[in-house]
Subunit: 164 residues, 4 copies
Amino acid sequence: MTDNIAIFITGGTLDKVHDTKTEGLIFDPKRKSRVSAILRQGRSRAVRQEVLFQIDSLDMTDDHREEIYQAVINAPEDHIIITHGTGTMELSAQYLDGKVENKTVILTGAMRPQSLGRSDAGFNLGGAMIAVQTLPAGVYGIMNGQVFEAQTLHKNTETGRFDD
Amino acid sequence: MTDNIAIFITGGTLDKVHDTKTEGLIFDPKRKSRVSAILRQGRSRAVRQEVLFQIDSLDMTDDHREEIYQAVINAPEDHIIITHGTGTMELSAQYLDGKVENKTVILTGAMRPQSLGRSDAGFNLGGAMIAVQTLPAGVYGIMNGQVFEAQTLHKNTETGRFDD
Amino acid sequence: MTDNIAIFITGGTLDKVHDTKTEGLIFDPKRKSRVSAILRQGRSRAVRQEVLFQIDSLDMTDDHREEIYQAVINAPEDHIIITHGTGTMELSAQYLDGKVENKTVILTGAMRPQSLGRSDAGFNLGGAMIAVQTLPAGVYGIMNGQVFEAQTLHKNTETGRFDD
Amino acid sequence: MTDNIAIFITGGTLDKVHDTKTEGLIFDPKRKSRVSAILRQGRSRAVRQEVLFQIDSLDMTDDHREEIYQAVINAPEDHIIITHGTGTMELSAQYLDGKVENKTVILTGAMRPQSLGRSDAGFNLGGAMIAVQTLPAGVYGIMNGQVFEAQTLHKNTETGRFDD
């Protein structure tokens, strides 16, 4: 069943790394993603992964969302996971919602970068892997061990959580 | 929805810790589980957790499996996760299969203890949290980012993986 | 011998933590330090620790350095470790050098925060603990497994290392 | 100065890794050591490393100790670190003590394997790197942030610590 799954990577906190020189959190200069390391740690079967771009989701525009949309509908796979920053995950979910037929599309991400340890990235991606195989066609967010439909996905910036 | 989820803890690799004195891997002498730490790292909503026992699944007998079964059917929750050693996970799944009506029961575990770092425990438990909310009533195993029905759950001791 | 050792904490990269809300690296709002966790992980004997302040060493002024100096000379201990940001560690070493008699003063820090994992903090602090017990009175920096006298301590901002 | 340092690796807890199949702690089948990873994390300058053998120190015989001794006296370097299991570290220190002239020899190790995370290996090896450069010729143990002369090195098996 895993032959029919693809992961599109768009950046977000999940993929940030510590930069010794600037003392800040940045994306890998070569756009390399941590997603494959997360899958390997989870001993997950390999699935196709493609880095669309590596940006902070607060910098994401509708041009970026259109690029995600094109990647989703043109993919040969019917089960799509999108790693995404939490800041505007709900906007991308709404952008895709209703436009994609016959595919299960899961957005997920992390509140703490995978590279810093003690991250929620593995828990969320493990959930997304199951969600993409068990949920009917549609657009969903998987965060905090919960399933959110596109229209109910909402980050509570006070608590730093997605709540229903 | 998380009000309707319970986790029963039975031990297995997931919960082992390094013992400095004997240099081996043991269970916490007070039977304390790492499950709550995994959920916290995943920023998951709290769910009810109960330690039934903490044993290596190779030491599990049908008496233990009956105890798990009783816990499952007597639980007020309809969505049950059981953390379990990988060695005999399939035997417990088969023991429960067909006996539990109207409940979704998920067995999961890990190949590397959570306490040792770089473990698959978070990935698997994150998957189990989603599976228990999305799968219809029945008994399943969640490992490696895959869903296995009770009768197809099988550990390949050569590869150290669950394969279909 | 450890009764005669004190650690003064001044901040720097070593003590930074990831802030989920701002996505940046900050000091603990309550100025709590990671130094005690590092010592515990190293199974080191407890030594007296005191947080003087928690700042980025690029923000350090001579007023801060005077505060460090006063703490050093007023301490009952003769063996003093100062955790310090790497950016201006050499300036503080030079400020103290020649002013402190009959005490061994060691500056150390880290290039990657201890809280992010895979940090050099433990290696450096382990070295500082030994240096403070084995070196004669004077002011030194301990970084990269090397001993630097105050006048030769110098961070190479290109390589992110202290080289002689 | 680091050109004149060598590390001889003999195994011990420091170098053990978790084996998924047997669920136990073993040495890497190819005798690969974690010492280089510890030095890299500490951003230490590279020093010559040589694996003499990889064994539990409780299995160490005087033949092994003679092999260590020959390695020490034949090394071109005058500053020698030996990584060693904690169980019989004191016996090896006493074996070498008085036989090696004009060299500083440091034994060190760990109570928790480096590969399991939250290990004391980095703290101890960071201390050993400084000790080997600052202590006069002789044989010493570095554990818990303390310096022990060969004749006073003693593991307290009750506390799992080296105490004076």
